[in-house]
């Protein structure tokens, strides 16, 4: 008894309730991960075989100009101090100037990011709408022809180079059939017609009630989004299937059947309810995956998003832009992970 009291006392002295320490721990580990991410990009920036000073002042600048910029960039300081400056700047959303167009990288990213977001969101939407039911049906009818079809669809999805699939899509649906708009977000004569509010052209044209632009923008986005959607479909349907198989063999499913419930209700009201939480994680992961997949897709479809931005910057040795873009994509990745963790805690009664 005395021991128990002691233990209680010790816990009280540590004072904070459990959820507070847990939250602090989570925040701490997120902070460390983000810092590490910034550190890696910083290191990559250091080992790049590009002289950042020369890149700014140009080949023919005098030695004094060179030295001035050298000092201005803080390159005389120890590496750790330079890193501290870098972190400070990143925290303020300052990724430096783009060497290509002499504008702040952060402004560029703010401009291109919505385009990627729009593309990836529509893609993951297609992936969920088709992938989840496909996975559920494949699990319920395990071994049937539809399960085999789902398996092949996923395997093909895992094996296709996305940039090639994009090219083939353009060739067939744009070049040969003419069903969709070509590369770019809208046709040239519709550009800059609707005011940019969110930066997502579907949303902007909807807000502006400009149906012509909306229709045109949709005809441009539907192909790249479907292709990205196919990738997340492959992943989402496979994961849904294996989650469902696990739940369908659980004993509470028998309970539901004993109650006299229809197979539809057993599957959707009972089994599916139990995989929702896991599905959220999978969807968050595939959303993150689509941000990545959009790098190559954007190039094929001349989509002015973050993927095109990073690659263009890369090819023209615009270091600040590359690193800025990488940090932003990395941060979005981490945020998506945190978000899925949070949703997990909200939706699973056992996690409380």
């Amino acid at each position: 008894m005395a021991l128990a009291e002691n233990e209680g006392g010790a816990r009280n002295r540590a004072s904070l309730p459990r959820w507070v320490t847990a939250t602090l721990k989570t925040i701490g580990s997120i902070a460390v991960t983000m810092l590490g991410l910034v550190f890696i990009t910083f290191i990559i920036g250091r080992v790049m075989p590009i002289d950042p000073v020369l890149a700014i002042v140009g080949e023919r600048a005098s030695q004094s100009t060179y030295d001035a910029v050298f000092l201005q960039l803080g390159l005389d300081k120890p590496v750790i101090v330079q890193f501290a400056y870098y972190v400070w700047d990143v925290l303020h959303g300052d990724f430096g100037m783009s060497l290509l167009n002499a504008r702040p990288v952060s402004e560029d990213i703010a401009r291109v990011f919505p385009a990627t977001l729009e593309l990836a969101t529509l893609g993951v939407f297609f992936g969920i709408v088709l992938g989840v039911p496909l996975g559920v049906v494949a699990a319920v009818r395990k071994g049937s022809w539809i399960d085999q079809v789902a398996r092949v669809v996923a395997l093909v999805g895992y094996s296709m180079p996305i940039f090639w699939l994009g090219l083939m899509g353009l060739l067939i649906f744009y070049g040969m059939l003419g069903w969709v708009g070509g590369p770019g977000r809208v046709s040239i004569f519709y550009e800059d017609i609707v005011p940019s509010v969110t930066g997502m052209i579907l949303v902007d044209s909807l807000l502006d009630r400009n149906w012509t632009v909306l229709k045109d923008a949709f005809s441009h986005i539907v192909l790249p989004a479907s292709l990205l959607g196919y990738y997340s479909l492959a992943y989402i349907s496979r994961m849904t299937r294996s989650f469902m198989l696990e739940q369908l063999s659980a004993e509470y499913i028998t309970t539901a059947r004993v109650k006299g419930m229809s197979e539809w209700d057993v599957v959707w009201k009972h089994a599916f309810r139990n995989i929702r939480v896991q599905l959220i994680t999978v969807i968050a992961l595939s959303y993150a995956g689509l941000l990545e997949g959009s790098v190559l897709t954007e190039i094929i479809f001349s989509w002015p998003g973050i993927g095109s931005y990073i690659t263009t910057a890369l090819l023209s040795a615009d270091m600040n832009a590359v690193l800025g873009g990488t940090v932003v994509v990395g941060l979005v990745f981490i945020l998506l992970n945190i978000l899925s963790d949070l949703l997990y805690k909200v939706f699973d009664p056992r996690a409380k």
Partner: protein, 302 residues
């Protein structure tokens, strides 16, 4: 023994030695693998690929680098150019055949580097524990937090374009999952009684890790590597497509798609054929990996 066929010997219920039991287990695994048609298709495709790469000079009808500007962008089925020619008049079939060597080269190198790094990090982390574990796993998490292709892009940007750097960049982004697996395996093995027994005999950490932990981690790593091969091929092709991998005039498949991209609407085969090659090979790896997982880990394969 004498009147027994090898097959019977391998299928016995009562193995006579440890090696006998092991061989028997492998043979039975092979039998169940052989029953998986899709996995066998994958295996045959890959064997064919290795054969094509080995005999590339004999198999290819033309020199993959010789240009013939008079005969550029010849369509499919042109005489002596079955798959047509590219924008410089080079034979696409020959380039594909030689390209298989590059693909195999990249896959082999990444498959060597990434799991070894992962194995090292994972076993040390799992065996030593304490703050070493915390630090190493935190680093692993940071690498996992990056989107792989974007990180590889940044690495290549830092290291410079080229096939070796592409291999290095892909390996650098591919090791963290292996480290996770190796660490998990190490933690289970470390708790086993026989490890305590060896420790009591005075074996050092080095000896335990290299002699007792590594051999047991390897089988789970092999399955994972096979499943990852397709991803490695796609990543390498992606880097090649962006002009960051193999440099022209190298007949790397991703770079070939990139070259053909400009003519996609009028001369579709130039970009289509290398894509089909990439697709076939990575599909083969996926089929093989699926089959292997079913054999080695029946639970994971449902």
């Amino acid at each position: 023994m004498a009147d027994q066929t090898l097959r019977q010997w391998l299928l016995t219920d009562t193995p006579t030695s440890r090696r006998h039991a092991k061989l028997s287990a492998i043979y039975q695994g092979w039998l169940s693998f052989r029953g998986n048609t899709m996995a066998m298709i994958g295996l045959w495709i890959l064997l064919a690929l290795v054969g094509i790469a080995a005999f590339a000079p004999i198999l290819s009808p033309h020199d993959p680098f010789v240009q013939d500007l008079g005969n550029r962008l010849a369509p499919l089925g042109t005489e002596s150019h079955i798959l047509g020619t590219d924008s410089l008049g080079r034979d696409i079939l020959s380039r594909l055949i030689y390209g298989s060597r590059i693909t195999l080269y990249i896959v082999a190198l990444v498959a060597l580097i990434a799991p070894v790094v992962g194995l090292l990090v994972g076993t040390v982390s799992g065996y030593v524990g304490g703050w070493v574990d915390v630090v190493l796993m935190r680093i692993t998490d940071i690498f996992l937090a990056f989107p792989r292709l974007v990180l590889a892009l940044a690495f290549v940007a830092a290291l410079g374009a080229g096939i070796e750097n592409a291999v290095l960049a892909i390996s650098l982004t591919a090791w963290p999952p292996y480290a996770r697996i190796a660490r998990a395996e190490t933690l289970t093995i470390r708790a086993a009684d026989y490890i305590s027994a060896i420790q009591l005999q005075g074996a050092g950490a080095m000896r335990i890790i290299t002699r007792h932990i590594w051999p047991l981690c390897i089988s789970s790593l092999i399955v994972r590597v096979t499943l990852d091969m397709a991803g490695i091929i796609l990543a390498a092709a992606g880097l090649g497509f962006l002009g960051l991998g193999a440099q022209p005039p190298s007949p790397e498949w991703g770079a070939m798609i990139s070259e053909g991209r400009r003519f996609i609407l009028d001369h579709w085969w130039v970009a289509t054929m290398p894509g089909l090659a990439i697709f076939t090979v990575s599909l083969a790896f996926n089929l093989l990996g699926d089959g292997l997982r079913d054999v080695l880990d029946p639970k994971g394969g449902e």
